[in-house]
């Protein structure tokens, strides 16, 4: 189990969190390579369908990162993301997905450290939880 590499899809808003992830790269801060990003313009675009699609495709964890409350480039999209996050946390267990496999964070463009910390923490949590899709033996074996 120690070799388990969880697959993580992160939906990052273009203006704050995606720039924060770029900034982590610029500073050569390392974090688990299993965290892979889909850029969206606003965390308010993070349709619950996108999150569910990521889980159904085989993600072990899904992250939605947006601008801090009050900082949204589009005024209030992050508040929409926030309410949808809580909706999803209620919905996911009914689909057999523990709510802890979804993570919402506010990360600004300058918060490279916070970004890396959030990714590492989430990654560690998912490693501890083990694979969501038990049939994906290849990834469990750590050679995926």
């Amino acid at each position: 189990m120690s070799g388990f590499k969880p697959k993580i899809v992160g939906f990052l808003c273009n203006w704050c969190s995606y720039a924060g992830a770029d900034s982590a790269g610029n500073r050569k801060m390392t974090y688990p390579a299993e965290f892979e990003v889909v850029r969206i313009m606003c965390s308010g675009r993070a349709d619950p369908q996108l999150v569910l699609k990521a889980f159904s495709e085989g993600a072990d964890g899904v992250a939605v990162f947006g601008c801090h409350p009050g900082d949204c480039h589009y005024k209030e999209g992050n508040y929409k993301a926030f309410t949808r996050y809580h909706l999803l946390r209620k919905l996911l267990p009914d689909l057999g997905i523990p709510a802890e496999r979804l993570r919402l964070e506010w990360i600004s463009a300058s918060e490279a450290g916070r970004f890396v910390e959030a990714v590492k923490e989430f990654h560690a949590r998912l490693v501890a939880m083990g694979p969501l899709h038990a049939n994906k033996k290849d990834r469990e074996a750590g050679n995926g």
Binding site: K28, M29, Y31, R39, K53, K75
Partner: protein
């Protein structure tokens, strides 16, 4: 399916040495749609860009994936290459191999593995992308400025240079705003109306500016480039063509006891009146509510007295419709009503005045002829000034207006000049003298013998009547210390600024959001200081938050500049291409998208009952698409199809 060209940039050693590009190229060669896999040492260089264009042309690919740096770095560069090669610039996808892959791990194998995932996601996504068209619309270049105070005037004058047409709408019968009524202005003690006179003159006599006083906005329809505005001008009952402002009508008016709103009721006026001495345009106005004629009596005193037949009782309200491309909201502030803080005694104790009332007293053409006088007509021997009435207080306004401390210094200085023997005390919690030159005045006042007394919160000072004057109990700075008691013949309370009375009404008419204090909310509180959430609606002056005259002028100029550079006569407006669009065959008309749109960009087509997106207003955030229960609303370039393809590609 149209073929895809997949470009891999080595970015020198940045990508080239940190992941195995050969492995990426080999993996990509077999993917659906990929016709060409091309590797280059530095794609963003002039030579690299030329290489991209040539390869696109040669291969006949009309889609492309760029495995390179962050899209924030070079998406625009490669979109340019696409356009140069006659491909649609939106038929490409940047894959962030540098900032979010090569630079985030020291393990080449891990980076290579992640790079293949990211690249596969990009290759799948680009197959689901659609070409987008950069649309252009006709736009009106005339501008509406709401409010003729210093901010609105500056905006109008800046706009009107070089022939731009401007409407200035002012609800008062005169222009110049609050600053024009100040006898002396901080910190240099200039006379407000003398300082403003040249600008007011240009405003009222410019061929390109139409000033509509006594006028309010009734309705605003449309959007950036195409606003339709309905204006309602109240009848002044004075013909501006005939009136010379001689004052004979005012002298003849038998109604003498109307509360003068321009002195906050410190004296009275007639039913026909000039707003204040020197108010421009130099025209009186008949106040319907007080005029005997409009109460059914047969009075014609003013018309009889007028030597030029300028009085016109039949004048009616006029509704005008105008078309403008942009709007500047410069609607100003109203002073905080200091009587709302009960302990400070205003309205209850005769000798407690607001700073505005005290200002009226200092004005030589004001109610006391420029003398500081108590209600019994005597000069006060002592005056206590209390800062921050209603400011920096969770109960009232929890912000600092940034102007009242310096203004209080001005009042102290002028009080000392007029009454050199009076004992002056300054009671404050904080003292704020921002920027250049303001503290100089405070230093001078300190030399004039003013006693400064600090307390924790001036709103906790209690003022009671004491003989013919007042007694102030000033709590100590630290809560447990002993309070100080002061006797003063007169108390002056420094009033901060609140949003003008029309702020909320205009904001809701235009769809502009307001902040928690009720001011117009800036598009971005630092970088978008004169914008709002509604494109084409700019803000300047105290309607967007407390400002001094200089700040208001700067904002007025900035708001005008934004419009001048974006809305050019004869040029079309280029719209954002990656905006939302609703599929009318799928839309059920539930209007959920309308509720979540922060830009009021969505309306319902009245005939079809379906959502329609206004591309001039939409900023492409995609919140509507995430909300739409039927999938009718799509965020172009970030469609569900494209994002699903990308997600699938990441995981494989």
């Amino acid at each position: 399916m149209a073929p895809t060209a997949l470009f891999l940039c080595e970015c020198g050693p940045n990508i080239g040495e940190r992941l195995r590009i050969g492995d990426l190229a080999a993996a990509a060669a077999g993917w659906e749609g990929v016709k060409l896999v091309a590797r280059h040492p530095l794609l963003c260089s002039a030579e690299g860009r030329q290489y991209v264009e040539e390869e696109l042309r040669k291969s006949g690919c009309d889609r492309a994936v760029f495995g390179a740096c962050s899209p924030k770095e070079h998406e625009k560069t490669f979109r340019g290459c696409m356009a140069a090669a006659c491909a649609n610039p939106f038929m490409m996808q940047m894959v962030n191999l540098r900032e979010q892959c090569a630079w985030t791990t020291d393990d080449v194998a891990e980076a290579t593995h992640k790079g293949i995932d990211l690249l596969r996601a990009g290759a799948r996504r680009v197959l689901a992308q659609e070409p987008l068209e950069q649309k252009k619309i006709d736009a009106e270049s005339t501008v509406l400025v709401v409010g003729a105070g210093v901010a609105g005037m500056e905006a109008a004058l800046t706009l009107a240079q070089k022939g731009r047409q401007v409407y200035v709408v002012e609800k008062q019968p005169c222009v110049g705003g609050f600053a024009n009524r100040l006898a002396e202005v901080c910190p240099g003690m200039e006379c407000g109306s003398c300082m403003l006179e040249p600008k007011l003159d240009r405003l009222l006599h410019s061929d390109n500016i139409k000033v509509l006083t006594y006028t309010e906005i009734d309705e605003v329809l449309g959007y950036y480039g195409n606003f339709k505005v309905k204006l309602r001008t109240r009848p002044r009952h004075v013909d501006p063509g005939n009136c010379f402002g001689c004052d004979e009508c005012v002298k003849a008016c038998p109604v003498t006891n109307v509360r003068n709103e321009y002195t906050d009721g410190m004296n009275t006026r007639r039913a026909i009146y000039f707003a204040y001495p020197g108010a421009l345009p130099n025209l009186p106005v008949i106040d319907h509510e007080s005029c005997l004629r409009f109460k059914g009596q047969e009075c014609t005193a003013c018309a009889a007295a007028c030597p030029f037949q300028a009085i016109d009782y039949k004048q009616e309200e006029v509704v005008t419709e105008i078309s403008v491309g942009a709007v500047v909201l410069a609607t100003g502030f109203r002073p905080f009503d200091v009587s709302r803080v009960p302990g400070l005694g205003h309205g209850r104790i005769p000798e407690v005045y607001s700073s505005i009332e005290f200002e009226h007293m200092l004005n030589t053409s004001g109610p006391t002829g420029g003398e500081i006088r108590r209600k019994d007509g005597t000069a006060p021997k002592s005056i206590a000034f209390v800062h921050c009435a209603g400011s920096l207080s969770a109960e009232y306004n929890d912000y600092c207006s940034g102007t009242c401390c310096t203004n209080t210094m001005k009042l102290l200085h002028l009080a000392h000049k007029k009454l050199p023997d009076a004992a002056l005390t300054d009671v404050h919690g904080e003292l704020v003298y921002p920027g250049k030159g303001q503290v100089d005045l405070a230093r001078e006042v300190a030399k004039e013998g003013v006693q400064f007394l600090r307390t924790a919160d001036p709103n906790r000072v209690t003022v009671t009547a004491s003989g013919k004057g007042c007694k102030l109990v000033v709590p100590a700075v630290n809560g447990s210390g002993k309070a100080t008691t002061i006797e003063a013949d007169m108390v002056v309370l420094a009033a901060g600024m609140e949003p003008g009375t029309d702020t909320v009404r205009l904001a809701s008419m235009l769809g502009v959001t307001t902040d928690r204090f009720g001011f117009y909310k800036e598009g971005h509180n630092r970088l978008g200081a004169v914008e709002t959430n509604i494109i084409g609606v700019q803000i300047a002056g105290c309607g967007r938050g407390p400002a001094d005259i200089q700040g208001s002028v700067v904002q007025g100029g900035a708001a005008a500049g934004r419009i001048l550079s974006a809305l050019v006569p004869g040029e079309k407006l280029e719209l954002e291409a990656a905006v939302a669009s609703a599929d009318e065959d799928v839309c059920g008309g539930c209007k959920m998208c309308i509720a979540v749109c922060p830009y009021k960009a969505i309306t319902t087509d009245p005939a079809k009952g379906v959502a329609v997106v206004n591309a001039a207003l939409c900023q492409g955030c995609g919140t509507c698409a995430a909300t739409c229960p039927s999938g009718a609303m799509q965020a172009r370039h970030f469609t569900n199809m494209a994002l699903f393809a990308e997600i699938g590609g990441l995981i494989r």
